[in-house]
């Protein structure tokens, strides 16, 4: 089982001080968080991709390439890569390049992006979102698997005798997850290819994500990639920890109350009872996280959102220390009773081995 962090990369004022970090500070903070993730024994760092303020990470492979150079083990991922508005040819090239630089420590979570104006900025239309995701990924899948590609589609110029370079490391394409918060078509897409499915599992009640994941598992089996319980599932989560539960609640409340997305709505208490958010002691986070398996089945990847809503870097790094402290317990407990035929999340090494066989 893999554990890690995912970041949106929002530049948000700290509501307790009113101070807004500069873009440079936020970008460097994201890097510091990634390095800390490796230091405390996490497996994955995933960055969002956005092309509008108040977000900074518009160029994920630039950031991940830099992090790759400064880490040894950490898997570098995205949350998410915009499969709709990016040219699939450029995704194929950028991430193959990153794969070589990072010695294979790369995978991707594909997402559509839900900000309407971003689409026309890149010459697209949000109403074509699903169709773009389907067509663009079909091309990307082909570019990483066929040396010479002839292709024609609706959303980009045709390709004749095109070879995407560099070729994927060892001719093994990066593993791909598909992320969605509401579209069964994307769960179906993930199942069709035998790819992973990632549910961000934050901000909304778990029941919503259960429906999508159950559907993905059923369709994964339908397409013959394995039994439903062997499908590759990733989940998000959101936590804030202090030694004492009350301290965690007191410190996190102003960030919660003013947070983008859910702030100025329900109370912290209501939100923690309704959504996967856990604010409390490390033990409370362990207990809550272990329930995810009961709701979604044995799964492969758990990512936590740790650095949004204006939390200062120092606090986020302390949170990562707590994560490092509880992850060994989570690994041990998640392994208990896990059927032997439930696979781990695919990595470059495991895919290479499967390929050779």
């Amino acid at each position: 089982m893999q554990f890690g962090v995912f970041t949106v990369g929002d530049v948000t004022p700290d509501p307790t001080t009113g101070r807004t970090p500069t873009e440079a500070e936020r970008i460097k903070a994201m890097v510091a968080i990634a390095l800390k993730a490796e230091e405390v024994g996490l497996d994955v760092f995933a960055t969002g991709e956005h092309h509008n303020p108040p977000f900074v990470p518009s160029s994920p492979t630039t950031m991940l390439g830099y992090i790759a150079a400064r880490t040894e083990r950490l898997i570098l991922s995205t949350a998410t890569t915009l499969i709709t508005t990016n040219d699939p040819v450029k995704i194929a090239e950028d991430y193959a390049m990153l794969q070589h630089l990072a010695d294979g420590r790369v995978d991707l979570i594909m997402g559509r992006g839900n900000t309407g104006p971003v689409y026309p900025w890149f010459g697209k239309d949000i109403r074509d979102g699903i169709d773009l995701a389907i067509e663009n990924y079909a091309l990307l899948h082909k570019l990483w698997r066929e040396d010479v590609v002839d292709w024609q589609g609706k959303h980009r110029t045709p390709l004749q005798s095109f070879t995407s370079t560099p070729r994927p490391l060892d001719d093994v394409p990066p593993f791909v997850w598909h992320g969605s918060i509401r579209s069964p078509q994307i769960a179906e897409q993930a199942a069709y290819y035998g790819d992973g499915f990632f549910a961000n599992h934050i901000f909304w009640p778990k029941e919503h994500f259960q429906r999508l994941i159950t559907f993905y598992r059923e369709r994964y089996e339908h397409y013959g990639h394995g039994a439903a319980h062997q499908a590759i599932v990733g989940l998000g989560g959101q936590v804030f920890m202090r030694r004492n539960s009350q301290d965690a609640v007191r410190e996190f409340r102003p960030y919660f109350d003013n947070a983008p997305v859910y702030g100025h709505g329900p109370s912290l208490e209501e939100f923690t009872s309704q959504t996967p958010l856990t604010v409390g002691s490390p033990q409370e986070v362990v207990d809550k996280t272990l329930t995810f398996r009961e709701h979604f089945g044995d799964y492969q990847r758990q990512l936590f959102l740790m650095d949004h809503a204006g939390l200062p870097l120092k606090t986020v790094l302390e949170q990562l220390d707590f994560l490092g402290e509880i992850v060994p317990t989570l690994r041990r407990e998640f392994a208990v009773g896990r059927p032997a035929d439930v696979p781990d999340a695919p990595t470059h090494a495991s895919l290479l081995k499967a390929d050779v066989r």
Binding site: F203, W204, P205, Y262, G265, P266, E270
Partner: protein, 211 residues
Amino acid sequence: MTAGPMTTLAVVHAGLGSPSSTQLLATRLAEATRQEVARRGGPDLEVRSVHLRDVARDVADNLVTGFPSARLREVVESVVGADALIAVTPTFNASYSGLFKSFVDVLEPESLAGKPVLIGATGGTERHSLVLDHALRPLFAYMRSIVVPTGVYAASSDWGAEGLPGRIDRAAGELTDLLVGRSPARPASAPASLSVSVDGFVPFDQLLAGR
């Protein structure tokens, strides 16, 4: 009539006061519908009343978070699952109230499609009565509901005037048409007579007298 599946009528109102004339109108419309369905030998009507004030914060939270609380989910399910809907709002600043619209805004776009809807509104003066046809009717047309021809508007003065009960009954009859089918028992109005009685003729100079 043997017990078939229960027919359900959701009654949603956005009245805020207590007592509330909006609630009163909603109750009158529901009761008139219940009686008309019974009169025509229709199925038993289960009336589900929703007072939006009770879930006002839940509605606001849903707008912010994108998902309903357990309590609001129950309310939404009872409304979208009903066989027909009576929707009544106070008139605030020349339109439906914000709470009323916010409730409609948290419904899924398709969820009221094809549903028979009776619209009602209340207001301080008769001058706002077109809120029914300029605000409520287009809203439910967008939701692709089937809105009955008669909407019922009640100004403060209507509660002491003739006419309101007749409009309530006519609207309830139209909603019942959609719930249980047209009633052959309801007499068509008598054909207008072509002959005009001249009894009680008043000479024009008397009509004009004194002007």
